[in-house]
Symmetry: C2
Subunit: 319 residues, 2 copies
């Protein structure tokens, strides 16, 4: 089986690549080729003969046509410009998040094999007057350019699936935390910083009030859900291709409290609250309560609570 | 005031152009220039000095940049490939219905005047498991490529409005009937044929069963709603930019009965029922009941019933 991962050198992409190489199979079939496309060279599996790391632009039709061929069984489409950057650089966000998705679907269609396409969408497709509890079929009312681009890509993926060009599945990711490394341009970046920086002995500035509610998932379970999402059958999904992954609903204040419980009050004391109206405005559009009955019925799993997410970060990234 | 109409030589576009020229003003300001862009030359106002008929491609960025300039106050974006054609010619539908809309919004943004953009969307943005009564905020679940393209364009227009690039308003048109002339490639074409052909003494083949329910509006009220839609203020619309226009909910059987009441049983006898599975499959995705409270609260008006629609056709098109 041939698998293509866009954004294959990124945070989730590299972890997914590692997981796929370690498993060696997907949906019961041996992975013989793993293409990792990104703007920088993927480091995972650099000396693994199954891996082909490709540096290139996800919105380049010629490159996509070369990478997604008649042998391609599964495509994980993770490549994206994150929310803060898509808001600041409108044209870039449109090109990568919308054109990239569209051209990838076109490449799949042209290849003719009807690959499974796992597309990572986002909570950012919701916003504004959302219902108290968000379900898989809550209307898409994005309030950011990033969310708009993701929502359009969801609709296009559904149409290409209906037309028989791809067998698509949309996994709407909660905010994935804790991300290691440096802060990125995502408006939700503080959801990682609030744990990562204090554990590293550094002060973390949280730009929203403690009562802001978020919906979060650890990288560990995000990767598990991506793999499981690729293994779902057409029959399991039916005509509704989008699934909200089983995140944890938690306030930012509760996140800080969990950090204190797991790592001690002296660590949690490194969290400093200093509101930033720009981030707060974006955060205000995020719903906080979710019905993920369908995800769990499909066998997709998430973290038990935020304490578990903090512990997973310490286990997976700090050892 | 300068007004641009894409699809300005089309069925609705030409009637809108006629109405704008007859009024001479929009939103209380004199119309000094009316640009009618279409793939064929607009005939309306051919010797009116206010009119500039432009033959060109709505997805041509250079042309759009020339037509939508810093003087442009209002853009009516009607140009589209219809549903049946967008389903059969996927790439063409994507280019005209999605790229065209996107590039038009880009041109508006580049011009910098923040024009009002009136975009005609469609009932085709709904489909599948729709609720018993469709409202303005029912989830967009298109089941056709045409509906997908319209839904994406709605989302992009909302984002450009939020970003302050345009002052957008989406008017979701019911099936507009009765259309004069020859049948077009819309799957809903029979909703016009069922009246037009019998009145012309010709047999009309209806490809769906009589119990199929449709949501319809006369060209007369469609044009009135377009004009009224352009005159709505930013404050009236708020953050919710899409409005389902006040159509009449009617079964195809009731349409035939109305024809009989208005034109006589010998005319209605020219309706022949012969199911076409392809059209029936598309028609099955159309919802039939609508809550248009918001449209009416905004002052948008529709027909009293289907009898009135038949009479409007006879008055407007057969005299």
């Amino acid at each position: 089986m041939k698998v293509v991962v866009t954004g294959g050198a990124g945070f989730l992409g590299s972890r997914l690549a590692r997981a796929l190489l370690d498993r060696g199979e997907l949906d019961g079939r041996e992975i013989r080729e793993l293409v990792l496309l990104d703007v920088t060279a993927a480091a995972v599996g650099a000396d693994d003969p199954r891996v082909r790391a490709v540096v290139g632009d996800v919105a380049d039709p010629a490159l996509l046509a070369e990478l997604v061929d008649a042998d391609t069984d599964v495509v994980f489409h993770l490549a994206a410009v994150v929310s803060g950057q898509a808001e600041a650089e409108f044209d870039l966000g449109m090109r990568i998040n919308l054109d990239g998705s569209r051209r990838l679907l076109d490449a799949c269609r042209a290849a003719g094999r009807v690959p499974r396409v796992v597309f990572t969408s986002s909570v950012a497709v919701y916003g504004g007057d959302v219902p108290a509890v968000v379900t898989d079929s809550t209307p898409l009312t994005p309030q950011t350019s990033y969310g708009t681009q993701k929502a359009c890509a969801e609709l296009l993926l559904a149409d290409h699936t209906r037309k028989g060009h791809v067998d698509g599945r949309v996994l709407r990711l909660p905010t994935v935390t804790v991300r290691p490394g440096r802060p990125n341009a995502a408006a939700s970046g503080f959801a990682s910083g609030i744990v990562r920086e204090p554990l590293a002995g550094v002060e973390s500035v949280v730009p929203v009030p403690p009562e802001v509610r978020m919906w979060v998932l650890s990288p560990r379970y995000a990767v598990e859900c991506l793999v499981a999402g690729a293994e779902l059958t057409d029959a399991q999904l039916g005509s509704s291709r989008a699934v909200n992954l089983p995140g944890v609903s938690v306030t930012v204040g509760e996140m800080a409290a969990a950090l204190g419980r797991v790592a001690g009050p002296e660590v949690a004391a490194r969290v400093r609250w200093q509101r930033d109206p720009a981030v707060e405005a974006i955060a205000a559009t995020w719903p906080g309560a979710w019905d993920t009955t369908r995800a769990r019925a499909l066998g997709l799993r998430g973290d038990a609570d935020f304490d578990a997410i903090v512990r997973a970060y310490i286990e997976d990234e700090m050892r």
